[in-house]
Symmetry: C2
């Protein structure tokens, strides 16, 4: 039996919480609340100590935001920096978030071909079993991951069976939020900009992964920092959930993105990472970081949420 389509799972999660918020887990050692940096555990290995600290912090953030956010997004680079223990931490955080009812996005930005993309798909969505007696331990389990389209559909195809039949989702990078995204994404082709073309490809690829609400499990990353381009992308991908970075620390505002989410605001999530995690640094009482996390998450949810 097929599992529920990711697009349906996503919009139902947003609806249930009245919150199209994605809390970005970008754990940076130097910026962790002191209690996590000080805990650190007994290990002499700095990678172990670091991984323990970011795991503890991210798990606690998940607990705090679970009532107020539909999704969390693990930026894997911040975990990888701690080597093997960092990957263990990512896995533990992902599982904890799932148990709390959050949808978990792996911000892995992978893009590779054929057999390698198969390996990625298996790592994140499949079972890693060494023989036919099959062990269900997924290497690093996510509900959806981000992927890079530079290599074309070969990089996307291995993920598609999981999107079509097993409730998993993709967010394809279309127009990213950083300034130099124009270098490639805004090149003018004969007929349209590169990212316009990529957007149309995403819509095309997504057609076979549509859930019961008419939306596809193949979504797109579209940055909030280019509001006009965000709407251009929406026109070309009406059925794709958006993962929208760039609000908060990168400068975009909630008003810039609400139109792309629809009414009710269920056709995507807006990510904020540093603006939520590290708001406490500017507060009067930096020991009360937990309140800051909840405050910033609900503030963003309220700014974004629209009902019909």
């Amino acid at each position: 039996m097929s599992e529920q389509n990711f697009a349906d799972r996503l919009s139902e999660a947003i609806l249930a919480k009245h919150s199209p918020v994605c809390v970005g887990l970008d754990p940076v050692w130097d910026r962790l609340p002191a209690e996590f940096r000080d805990a650190g555990g007994a290990s002499d290995d700095p990678l172990e100590r670091g991984a323990d600290a970011i795991e503890g912090f991210c798990k606690r953030v998940c607990e705090l935001v679970a009532p107020h956010a539909a999704t969390v997004k693990l930026q894997l680079a911040y975990f990888e920096i701690f080597g093997p223990p960092g990957i263990r931490a990512a896995r533990n955080v992902s599982r904890h978030a799932s148990e709390l009812g959050l949808l978990v996005i792996g911000d892995v930005k992978r893009g590779d071909i054929g057999s390698t993309a198969d390996a990625f798909a298996q790592s994140y969505f499949g079972d890693t079993s060494l023989d036919s007696s099959s062990n269900p331990a997924r290497a690093l389990p996510f509900d959806a991951v981000t992927v890079n389209p530079y290599m074309g559909i070969d990089a996307i195809r291995p993920f598609m069976p999981y999107c079509r039949d097993h409730g998993k989702g993709l967010f394809v990078l279309v127009k990213t939020s950083n300034p130099s995204s124009i270098d490639v994404q805004s090149l003018v082709t004969d007929e349209e900009l590169v990212f316009h073309r990529v957007a149309r490809l995403v819509a095309e690829w997504g057609a076979e992964c549509v859930g019961s609400h008419g939306r596809s499990a193949i979504g797109a990353v579209v940055g909030a920092t280019f509001p006009r381009e965000l709407l251009e992308a929406r026109e070309r991908m009406p059925a794709s959930p958006f993962l929208i970075p760039g609000v908060g620390a990168q400068g975009a505002k909630a008003e810039d993105v609400v139109a792309a989410l629809g009414e009710p605001a269920t056709n995507g999530v807006v990510n904020s990472s540093r603006g939520i995690l590290y708001a406490y640094e500017k507060d009067d009482d930096p020991n009360d970081w937990e309140s800051s996390v909840v405050r910033e998450t609900t503030k963003l949810a309220n700014a974004l949420w629209r009902e019909e």
Copy 2:
């Protein structure tokens, strides 16, 4: 003091071995020689057992090819599939290869912005230290990594100080070897194809990372499966070392790529993964996999090597 530029390290390694070969480490459990699948160790955890097996296999391959290849390339996806133990295996293989005098390329195809790219650069090239007492344990050490240009120079910039001053290198995806690479890379812009533009960007980015042989530490991935495009890319990036996939299992031949390597053939390496690792499957004596690895590596080196 600056370390020797990566482009110089690479061409000297090629010259010393008369071999512009890069042996691709794509360890696939099902295809490992029986001795590694059977060894497996005592762990009940299939991820641990799998990681031990691929680590043992890849280390042995490194020992076999060290006299005959300039570089090895770890395709990280095949390690990640085994979760945290897989990353530990990748680290151990990378260190072992370095000790054997091989340059080690991490085929990570990363592409992300600002602070995240910083984290990647630190994982692969920098020190992961948790405090000022600084620990030299790099999370996952490589001499060079592959990066994806879809997000523009923001994804490249954090790596550049390491390329300029610390002997590290990059291979930017320009024209990849897979069929659907045309989806984006061969779009026609107003003046040129997307990958032509990306090639010119790579040349531009590389200008500040030139070593004493006039070559840059900022290289490019250009697939052998499109021979005309390979030469077009070379015209636009004369100083960039190429990492050339697509020979062997993907169908391209050594003749297709020699012109792009120069004479002597030191301006890049040609990767073969499955064609070397799993040649033994077709041999009369599948137990003699070690001979097959050496035979295929030297055969490719001989087909590619040109002196002045």
